[in-house]
Symmetry: C2
Subunit: 304 residues, 2 copies
Amino acid sequence: MNFKEELQAKTEQAEETLKQYLPEEKGYQKTVLSAMNYSVLAGGKRLRPILMKETYEMFGGSGRVVEPFMVAIEMIHNYSLVHDDLPCMDNDEYRRGRKTTHVVYGEGMAVLAGDALLNYAFETAALAFELPEVQEDVSLLKAVGKAMGILAVKAGVYGMIGGQTADVEAEEFPPEKVTEDLLLFIHEHKTAALIQNAMMIGAVLAGASPEETAKIEKIAYNIGIAFQIQDDILDVTSTLEVLGKPVGSDEKNHKVTYVTLNGLKKSEEEVKRLSEEAMKELGSFGKRNLFLEKLVEDLITREK
Amino acid sequence: MNFKEELQAKTEQAEETLKQYLPEEKGYQKTVLSAMNYSVLAGGKRLRPILMKETYEMFGGSGRVVEPFMVAIEMIHNYSLVHDDLPCMDNDEYRRGRKTTHVVYGEGMAVLAGDALLNYAFETAALAFELPEVQEDVSLLKAVGKAMGILAVKAGVYGMIGGQTADVEAEEFPPEKVTEDLLLFIHEHKTAALIQNAMMIGAVLAGASPEETAKIEKIAYNIGIAFQIQDDILDVTSTLEVLGKPVGSDEKNHKVTYVTLNGLKKSEEEVKRLSEEAMKELGSFGKRNLFLEKLVEDLITREK
């Protein structure tokens, strides 16, 4: 299998795992269950669950304990999309070519479906405690406790929600108030935090040491920031055909980005630097995962 | 101390515990942190944390492990109020005499603040894993894992959110579609589930057996349903002066309640039956907690 085929196979595996944990659509609360499934099954790259599992395997993990957490991180990602799309937020009517949750189920139900997905993420992750492999192994039990903490912190006000808050506010700022420091805060929390979340949980569940987990946190930071700057670069350089949106839409919207602040050249250099550092670190553990390395490279250097 | 003074003292203790875990309002995400604190510190009876701690003590618990969970359940209660008050839900501009979160911080920020509180509940609860008393005691470690599961399940689609979904939909139903079965589903999930959540976690963290925990679940069910029917009775019988809202507002709103379905007499009998059963069961454990018994009695037989 080449990389593309392997990625395809792993995406399908992640999708299968996800489906095993989705709620059945029945009972008096059926509508919210349908809305949850509608939003989660809209497709998507399942990137975070894959990053989690690959990191887990890199550190020698081979159990089922990672599965509830793979599902949980994907649910957190999806709840954030449902709430971001709300009329009082970005007011988006379409996502991945389908009507957004609030358009199909109404605004109140979309608020509830987002809440339900966030809550279900922790409900699903908590199932890990009941697995026999966890009940019988005190270090794994402690690792699951630690993973719960990471899941929550990196998704919350010191993670994704923190970045989302700063981003919502920055949109109303005059351009001179959007500093590089603020932009990096937003990228770190809004984008990198869920990548850190996924990869750190993978590491911790496989028994990685605190030092190794800290290294993974830094690698995932680099990946997230590089990914986001590359996004801003593509907005300027890519053609409508490749990217599917008008070229330079950020500039037209007077949006301050890393590229408008630092120029294309410095931005490209920064992506290169972050990427090389991440790749070097990722190759420096006792065991390597070449698929993971290729996936990370692919993410950062993508051209669409 | 009489009961009222004791309740007052315990409410202040719960308030103090809560304040220790609230986020500091600083950083680029300061607005969402302020909105969280604004909503949590609006007052309130802190009933769920008190029920949790009293149940914990009834089963002999005396550690600090219950504290993060007391905070977590209060945050879940508060996030549900913030989202319920949104314009696309109940559209309430005042709560406890203060402007609601979305009126003060805007609708988008209120969505984020609700999400943040729900997330922070699990973030706070997960701190329990790191307590030395938990790290050193495998049964307590397992109990904390179990408590995380209860926290999530009873707040989610098979708990509070499930009840909220059914309630939102029932409001649009013609009266004949609102059956007793549906009403009891709503009361069980929207009201009783968080009381079960609080009391079951208290029991589990103190080392209660599965049988004892199941008994507590049933007791909390009775308390929740009796509380809710009593609420409907008061709507009919109470005067404006005592209750602070027009008498019979449910009837004016054509709202189907347990009382409109079954009449006052049968409703009062049912409150009495549920209440007596709960009190009998609550007094049947090896150890008793007389304050808890009085609190439960007070909740159910209140006249406002």
